[in-house]
Symmetry: C2
Subunit: 366 residues, 2 copies
C-alpha cells in the first residue's frame, strides 16, 4: 500500500497501547480482588497472560472507529478497547472448553492449565474442576469488561450532545451484539456435534454473528459512538458484514489449501474435523453421487492421508467452488472498499488504514 502506515503497522502499534492498559488494569484489579478473596491476584494475572497472547484486533478497531471521525482522544477509548479484549478473552476461554482445545497460541488453554493444577492438588475429577474454574474465569472476564465499560457513561456524556442517551445506546449495542455472538457460537457447536447438515443460509448467519458483526462491525461502531457518531452505525455494519464474511471465507480457504508450515495446523485439519464450512456445504451441493460418497468417507475421518486431502482440494477446484467463492469474496471486498470510501469520515489516514486492513485480512498468505 502507498499509505503512510499499513494496517499491520497500525494494529501492532495499537496492540502495544492496549497491552499497556491491560497490564495497568490487571495490576490494580488483581490487588483489589485479592483483598476481597484469596486467589484474586492469581486469577487476574492468568486472564492478563491469556489475553496478551492475542492480536487485539477488536480493541484496535475501537480506536480506529474513533479516529475515522477525528476523535483519536475521545474519553473512554482506552477503557472501552480494553473491555473488548476482556470480552474476547472470556469468549475464547469458554470456546476452548467447548472445542476441547488444550492449547491456544502456543500455550495451555485456561481449562487445561486449571486441570493440571487440579490434578496436582489431588482433585477427584481434575478435568471437571479444571473446566468449572475456567467457566468462572471466563465469567469474570465478562464482569471485568462490564466494569471497564462504565467509563463510557462518563466518556460519551463528557463529549457533549445527548450524554446519557448516547452512553446507553453504546452499552446496549455491546450487550445486544454479544448475545448474537453467543447464539452464533451455539449454532457452531451444533454444526460440529450433530449429524444434520446445516444449509448455506444457516452457515452464513453463523459467520455473520460470530465473525462479521462481532469482530468487525461492533468494535468499529463502538469507536464511532465514542466519537459521537452513532449516525454511522448502519454504514459501519454494512462494511463489517462484507469484510467479515470475506475474511471468514478466506479463513476457510486457508483451512483447506493452507500450507501446514505456515498455518501451524495439520494439512486438511478442517476435513478431519468435519468442520461445517461454507466451502464444504457448497462442495457437497456440487458433487455428483459418486463424489459425494467418497467425500463422506473423508470428512470427519482422522486417518486420511495427504493424497486424500489433495483429492478434496482438486475436486473443490474442479467443481468450480474455489473460483466461485474467490470471485464472490473479491466482489464483497470491492463493495466494502466502496462503502469505506463513501463513509462520512473526517480522517483520511484512518480511512486508508481501514481500506488496507480490509484488503490485508482477505489477501493474507497461506
Amino acid at each position: 500500500m502507498s499509505e503512510q502506515r499499513s494496517a499491520q503497522d497500525y494494529l501492532a502499534a495499537r496492540r502495544s497501547d492496549i497491552l499497556r492498559s491491560l497490564e495497568a488494569i490487571s495490576g490494580e484489579r488483581g490487588a483489589e480482588l485479592e483483598r476481597a478473596l484469596p486467589g484474586g491476584k492469581e486469577l487476574v494475572d492468568r486472564i492478563f497472560e491469556y489475553a496478551s497472547r492475542g492480536k487485539m484486533l477488536r480493541g484496535s478497531l475501537v480506536y480506529l472507529g474513533a479516529e475515522l471521525f477525528g476523535r483519536a482522544g475521545a474519553p473512554g477509548l482506552a477503557e472501552t478497547a480494553a473491555a473488548m479484549e476482556f470480552f474476547q478473552a472470556g469468549l475464547l476461554i469458554h470456546d476452548d472448553i467447548m472445542d476441547r482445545d488444550e492449547r491456544r497460541r502456543g500455550a495451555p488453554s485456561v481449562h487445561a492449565a486449571y486441570t493440571e493444577g487440579a490434578s496436582a492438588a489431588g482433585a477427584g475429577d481434575p478435568s471437571h474442576l479444571g473446566e468449572s474454574l475456567a467457566i468462572c474465569a471466563g465469567d469474570v472476564c465478562f464482569f471485568e469488561a462490564l466494569r471497564l465499560l462504565s467509563a463510557v457513561a462518563v466518556g460519551v456524556g463528557a463529549s457533549g450532545s445527548s450524554g446519557g442517551a448516547a452512553a446507553a445506546s453504546l452499552i446496549a449495542l455491546c450487550g445486544s451484539e454479544l448475545s448474537v455472538v453467543g447464539l452464533a457460537q451455539m449454532a457452531d457447536c451444533r454444526f460440529g456435534e450433530l449429524p444434520a447438515e446445516p444449509t448455506e443460509a444457516e452457515i452464513l448467519a453463523m459467520y455473520r454473528g460470530k465473525t462479521a458483526r462481532y469482530s468487525f462491525s461492533m468494535p468499529l461502531a463502538v469507536g464511532a459512538a465514542l466519537a459521537g457518531r452513532d449516525d454511522t452505525r448502519a454504514a459501519i455494519f454494512a462494511i463489517g458484514d462484507l469484510a467479515g464474511l470475506a475474511f471468514q471465507l478466506r479463513d476457510d480457504e486457508i483451512g483447506l489449501y493452507g500450507d501446514s508450515e505456515r498455518t501451524g495446523k495439520v494439512a486438511g485439519s478442517d476435513i478431519r474435523e468435519n468442520k461445517k464450512t461454507l466451502w464444504r456445504a457448497r462442495l457437497f451441493a456440487r458433487a455428483g453421487e459418486e463424489d459425494r460418497r467418497r467425500l463422506l468417507t473423508l470428512y470427519g475421518n482422522r486417518d486420511i492421508d495427504s493424497l486424500d486431502v489433495d483429492h478434496v482440494r482438486k475436486l473443490t477446484a474442479a467443481l468450480g467452488v474455489r473460483s466461485e467463492i474467490a470471485q464472490w469474496r473479491d466482489t464483497m471486498i470491492e463493495e466494502a472498499k466502496g462503502l469505506v470510501a463513501a463513509l462520512d469520515a473526517s480522517d483520511e489516514s484512518a480511512r486508508a488504514i481501514l481500506v488496507d486492513l480490509v484488503e490485508w485480512l482477505v489477501n493474507r498468505k497461506y
Copy 2:
C-alpha cells in the same frame, strides 16, 4: 411483624412486577435475536422460563434499595432489577454445570435439557454438547443483563446531580461485585473437589463473596445508587455483610438439621456431599481424636444412614457448635437491625420491610 407489609408479601409483590418486565423484555428480545440467527427465540424463551423459577430476591432488593430513599419511581429501576435477575440466571446456569445438578427448582437444569435434546438429535457426545450450549446460554444471560444495565446511563443521568459519573459508578459496582462472586464460586468449587481443608477465614471470605455482598449488598446498593444515594454504599455493605453471613449460617444449619420433607433434600445431604461449611469446619476443630476419626468416615460417604446423620447432629450440639453459631448469628442480626435503624433513609415503611426481611431470612423454619 406488626408492620403494614411483611417482607414476604413485599417480595411476592415485587416478584410479580419483575416477572412482568422479564416477560416483556423476553418477548421483544426473542424476536430481535431470532432475526439475527435462527434459535434466538428458543434461547430467550428458555432463559425466561429458567429465570422465572426463582424468588427474584436480588431484583426485589433493587426496588427496596431505591424505596428506602424515597425514590420508588427512579428511572431505570425496572431494567436494573431485570438485569440482576439475568445475571443471577447466568450464574445459576453455570453453577448447575459445575455442581452436576440435573434439576433446579423442580425442573431440568439448562445443561440437562440441552443434553436431552442433543441426545435426541444424534449428537456423538450429548453431555458435552449440552454443557457447551448451557455455557453459551449463561453467557447470553450476562450480555442481556449488560444490555439492560444501559438504562442506568439514562436513568441516573436523568435524576440530576453528577449524571454520567453516578451511572459509571453504578455500572462499575456491578462489574466489580460480580467478579467477586465469580472468584467466590471458584473457591467453592475448589473446596468441594480438593482434599485440602479450607480454614474458617477462607470459608467466611467465600460466604461473603457468594452470598452477603452479591445477594444482599450489591442489589440494595444498586437501588440506592439509582435513588442518587451513592453515599450510603458503605452502610449498606455493612448491613449486607451481617445479614448475608447470618443467612448463610442459617442455610448451613438447615442443611444439617433440616427436615427432609420441608427442605426437599435428603436428610444429611451436606454430610454425604462433604460440603465444606463453616459448621463442618468448626465441628472438626472441636472434635477430639476419636470423634474426628468417626466424622471422617461419615463426611463424603453416600451410604450413611439416619443414625449416622443423627450422630453428627448430636455431636455438633454436644460440642457447643450449634449454640455458639446460633448466638453469633443472633448478634449479627441485632447488629444488622441496628445499622438499618441508623441508615439515613427517608421511607419508614421500606425500612420496616428491610428489618423484617433480615429477621425472616435467618429465622425461617426448617
